[in-house]
Symmetry: C2
Subunit: 513 residues, 2 copies
């Protein structure tokens, strides 16, 4: 660390602050958590902001430090002090991360009970060339779109399951990527957008083989969720979702088998549309479970979503009145259920969808059998290649017997017919996920519990093949943050009703926000 | 813009500050420069920092605003106020750029003569997916290196002139890129680094066809220079240099024909090595002027430079004692000359290199003739494709007659022999460039004047084919900034003396810093 004697020209520190400033720097580099906790002011008003958001309160800041395992090594190039009173000064430092570039740190220090403490801190680090948690390949652009068309100016983050001419499909797994061939054609789902003028910014990360809704990837890391500090991004379309939420693309092209668009949309406050099964071609898409696999999009605005849908969908059906399924709401956490009921009111028609656990069991059995059919041979040949979470899911999938699969397929036909009859032309309203984004550091049991709830909510669209739109209009309190955490309001509509659902979502958005 | 009535829970503003805060926001979105100037505190101590660095003083901040043409559109999502005294408060805002993601703005406001003014501001914006000024394509990594070797962990920014299997060569020009074939082999200069364990992060921008030392590109923009706020990056290896200075890669693989590694190294405070002509193969490299074209590297540390040089160079010659050429120093600006003389002292041996203008004329004529030979046919067929600056250079190159070229080639042989004899085994010390990085907004005539000076300094290595190392040890005052601007100290050594020059540079670095 550069010593403070290197700053002969810097403005003078008020009494004793200089020692506190350098003690903080020493503690930061040593990851001395007790010293850092001591040097940040106690209480609920202390603030610390960086690229991932602003943490509020001494305890939230302390927890963040416990979770990160140390700050990046840096030197201090220069310090400026702006004294406000005898007991308050703003200290601004130019930092030089050891990995290059320059950063800035602004700290308001106040003398509290005779000791100098940081009450507010704002930290900036230089940006990396590429965030490998979000992206695998990026260009400026990677693939140029048509020079005219309604989507000119839109930029696409393509989930790493779609073929792009000249690129490989990575499927979220580096071992798979290493053996993957260079594609000689572009998937129609990508080409539709290119033809209307959007360009491909890059290929974005996915949970391995799309077989998870968490958004964690053991190889590339967890994409950040800018709406929930330290929160899971949701998956498996995690990279496209984070790219769009971060402003790094305007359209995330993803897939949704069991919630892989709706969940990240819900966690990150985005519009997310799962299309009608079969409405967008799956050619050039690595399959997970063809009975349920669908293509869709994540966007920040309904306008971008309408543009993507308009480029790709050929049939347009109307959507009827709203309906809720009270039994489903039992699987949402209390704060989400309350936000949902507050938004939709308690005077909507209700529908009985039968035994939800049974629906999920049918969905899961068919999905698992097909996932093993899609990827089992490769998984068996590469036993060390998968992260533990996805490996466990494939291990369970391998155990589905032909008899179990056949029984589940028969039950699926009946369940689908029953749900179609129950819902008819109506639009089912439900929360897009059972909870707001869990912390990436949460107890795995807690994450699993939210997954169990969420899968029960998302499987209705999977079983019916209906389109489902997540609209960013709900929120729940977010401890340790200045803003609440988003949750999606989901609209499951009749086959091919996507455009009608978006219009309905826009009305809800206007009414509720 | 979101109105402030949206923050019922925010801490209260002190008297009249709320109005000033929202007046600032209005003025920022309207690019109302007089209002912004009024709302920032007058005087030399006012600070404003963002990702490009910290500006110091009201005037520097005002000039920056005049140059940028407006701030990106944004909404304010939340405001926190921390009152320090009746006349001072820190105001922290969560911003939502219209292009997505979230930012933070921290402002210290003080009441000065009864009016609220910003005395310090710190602004963070969300990072883009890719900075197209710096990069054309990036991966995580784009090309993996060998899994073992001395360069494991090093990351390469490859100038967009080198062949990489599966990629195109863009040469800094989108029209060229559109017609470029996909390369089926990787240039040896890239492969040497991959073989020793470095990975390729991406393909970085260049001045068009490498025919400039400014670092501006009419199509992709000007890469940022983190060492000089608003300063030119230097070129033509501008993208690799900025990538390394920003910490986005550890090795910039570039080329140097007339200064294209040494100038960006000097402007950005990097180590930069132009190798002996012919020492690193130019296969797979788009030529500019084969008589002078060389390969080399830009790094933040001498260790990384030694690694890259060690992977690529086969012959190692010693280097002798230091010598200076007083006539050359006349082409450096006074602050650079003073810094140079202060560093090297006034007791070094001197050498007479003859008429420097004549040397430059020889260099330029041969370079221009060869540049036209390399690219003239394409340039003539694509009259609209080039930026004005490079187009002008090619237009001049087209006018070199065969007789002029033949005369210059004959003169080159004599000049080279004369310089070789004058220098012998000795190492010529000189500034790497005639000035620190000029402002990207500077008068073109001023930029041209520095270029004229710099080309006289850099042409000595070009004419002799000698290696030249730029060592980041000099600096000159940088008005409006907290830190001085870097300038390189250049060592031009005997053929194949690269490793000896780096060792010499390390000694100078230790002694002078």
């Amino acid at each position: 660390m550069t010593e403070h004697t290197a700053f002969p020209e810097a403005t003078p520190f008020p009494e004793a602050l200089e020692g506190a400033f350098w003690e903080y720097e020493r503690a930061l580099m040593a990851n001395d958590l007790p010293a850092l906790d001591r040097l940040f002011a106690p209480g609920p008003d202390t603030l610390r902001g960086d690229a991932s958001g602003i943490l509020v309160g001494h305890d939230a800041i302390s927890e963040f430090r416990q979770g990160r395992g140390g700050a990046p090594a840096r030197d201090i190039l220069h310090v400026e002090v702006r004294q406000v009173t005898d007991d308050a000064a703003l200290v601004i430092a130019i930092t030089a991360p050891r990995t290059g570039g320059r950063g800035q740190q602004s700290q308001l220090w106040r003398r509290i009970d005779g000791e100098w403490r940081v009450t507010e801190a704002h930290v900036s680090l230089p940006a990396p060339a590429i965030d490998p948690r979000v992206w695998r390949v990026i260009g400026s652009p990677l693939v140029a779109g048509s020079t005219d068309g309604p989507l000119v100016g839109e930029t696409i983050a393509v989930k790493d399951l779609f073929a792009i001419e000249g690129q490989r499909i990575g499927a979220g797994n580096p071992t798979w990527l290493a053996d993957a061939p260079v594609e000689n054609a572009t998937a129609p789902a990508v080409q539709h957008l290119l033809d209307e003028g959007a360009s491909v910014t890059g290929i974005a990360q996915t949970d391995e083989f799309a077989y998870s809704i968490a958004g964690q990837n053991a190889h590339y890391g967890t994409p950040p969720n800018p709406a929930v500090i330290g929160g899971l991004p949701g998956g498996s379309s995690s990279g496209p979702a984070s790219a769009v939420a971060l402003g790094q693309a305007s359209i995330g092209l993803g897939t949704d088998t069991g919630g892989s668009i709706r969940v990240p949309a819900s966690y990150q406050g985005l519009w997310g549309l799962r299309t009608t099964h079969g409405a967008v071609p799956v050619d050039g898409l690595l399959p997970l479970s063809p009975t349920f696999d669908t293509v869709g999009w994540l966007t920040r605005t309904s306008a971008a979503l309408k543009g993507a849908a308009g480029a790709s969908l050929r049939s347009h059906a109307p959507a009827g009145s709203h309906v809720v399924a009270p039994a489903l709401l039992e699987y949402a956490q209390p704060d989400v259920r309350a936000a949902f009921l507050d938004a939709v009111g308690d005077d909507l028609d209700t529908v009985d969808l039968g035994d939800i656990d049974e629906l999920l069991a049918i969905f899961r059995t068919v999905q698992a059998a097909e996932a093993w059919e899609s990827d089992g041979a490769w998984v068996a040949e590469h036993p060390e290649a998968l992260g533990a979470d996805v490996a466990g899911r494939f291990a369970a999938a391998a155990l589905v017997t032909p008899e179990q699969e056949a029984a589940a397929r028969a039950d699926l036909v009946h369940a689908r017919a029953r749900l179609e009859e129950a819902l008819g032309e109506r639009v089912l309203l439900l929360p897009s996920a059972s909870s707001a984004a869990p912390s990436a550091l949460a107890d795995p049991a807690e994450i699993e519990a939210t997954r169990q709830g969420t899968m029960r909510l998302t499987c209705i669209a999977g079983i019916t093949g209906r389109p489902a739109l997540s609209v960013p209009v709900l929120s729940v309190p977010q401890p340790g943050a200045l803003l609440p955490a988003p949750v999606g309001l989901c609209l499951v509509g009749p086959q091919n009703s996507e455009i009608a659902l978006i219009a309905m979502g826009e009305l809800l958005h206007t009414r509720l926000l």
